[in-house]
Symmetry: C2
Subunit: 144 residues, 2 copies
DNA sequence: GCGTAATCAGATATTATTGTCTTAATTATA
DNA sequence: TATAATTAAGACAATAATATCTGATTACGC
C-alpha cells in the first residue's frame, strides 16, 4: 500500500487545521479534537505532545487546559507540520529505492522524479494554515 | 516517516528493471537478483511470485530456472508494477487523511493535491521499462 | 484547600510490514 | 536416472507503526 504521509502525520495536519479554525486565543482539548476528528484519543495525545515540543503548538495543563497554535496561522505551513512529524527524507529519497541514487549517480527516473517532488515541496511550503482555514468554512468539517 | 511506495514495491521496481537489462529470452534467478540488488532473498522471492501471478513476469522452475519479463519491456510501465504490488489507492486518497474528502466535499487542499497526484500518475503511466533500461547503461548498477 | 479535568510520560498491547526458515515440486544437466 | 538448482508455498520471526492503559503532575473553579 502506497503512503504519502504517515497516519500520525495525517492526524497532526487535521488537528492543527482544526485549531486554526477556533477563535484566536481559545484552548482546545485532546478530548474535543478526538471526537471532532474521529481519531484515537491517546494516540492523538502523543502527537499533540510532539507538536508542542517542536514549538508549533502551546499547551496548558490542568482543568480547562488544552492546545492552541503557538504561532499565527499564516506562519505555520504544511511543511512545518510534515517536517515535525514525518521528517523530510521524502525530499531526497530515491523513488525506486536505490540507496546510492543521487544527482551524480542518478537512477533512470531520478530527474523526472526530482521535478515532481519539487512541486510537492513547493506546495507544502507555500500552503499556510490561515489560507487553509479560510477555505474550510464549516466548523463541523470532520467528514472532510 | 513519509513513504511513497512500500519497500516491497521498491524491490519489485528494481527487479523488473534489472530483468529488462538482461538479454531478451534469458532467465534470471532470485539468487542472482538478490546479490545484484542487495535485497533479502526470500522476501524478494515472494515479490517475484506476486509479479508472476499478476502476469508481469514469467517463471521457470527447476535447475537453471528463473524469471523473465512476460511482456516486451516497452509494454510494462511503472504504473503496472506499482498497481500490482501497492495498488492504486494513492490516486484517490486524501492527503490530509480525511476519510470523506472528495471532489464534492473537498478538503482545503483537495484540488491542488489532485493536480500533483495527476502529475505523478502521468509519469508512472508514461514511463515504460524499455525507456528506463536505455537510461541505465551499466550492468553493475546496484548502487543506483 | 479540594476535587476535577486536563497535559505529560512511560509502559504495554495490537496490528501491519518486513524478513526468515523449511519443505515440496519441478526441471536442466551430468 | 540421480543430482543439484531452482521456483512455489506456507509457517514462523522480527521489527515498526499504531493504539491503549496507567499513573503522575498541573491548574482551574468551587
Amino acid at each position: 500500500m502506497s503512503i504519502i504521509f504517515s497516519r500520525q502525520c495525517e492526524y497532526a495536519l487535521q488537528a492543527v487545521l482544526y485549531l486554526a479554525l477556533q477563535p484566536r486565543g481559545t484552548l482546545t482539548s485532546s478530548k474535543d479534537l478526538t471526537t471532532r476528528l474521529g481519531v484515537p484519543y491517546h494516540f492523538l495525545g502523543k502527537i499533540m505532545q510532539s507538536l508542542t515540543r517542536k514549538g508549533l503548538l502551546r499547551s496548558q495543563k490542568g482543568s480547562s487546559g488544552g492546545f492552541a497554535l503557538a504561532l499565527p496561522p499564516k506562519d505555520i505551513t504544511l511543511f512545518h507540520i510534515v517536517e515535525a512529524i514525518d521528517g523530510v527524507d521524502f525530499t531526497k529519497k530515491c523513488v525506486l529505492g536505490f540507496p546510492e541514487c543521487s544527482g551524480k549517480n542518478p537512477c533512470a527516473v531520478h530527474h523526472q522524479w526530482a521535478g515532481l517532488r519539487e512541486n510537492i515541496y513547493e506546495m507544502l511550503v507555500r500552503k499556510n494554515i490561515a489560507e487553509m482555514a479560510k477555505e474550510t468554512k464549516k466548523p463541523e468539517f470532520r467528514a472532510r
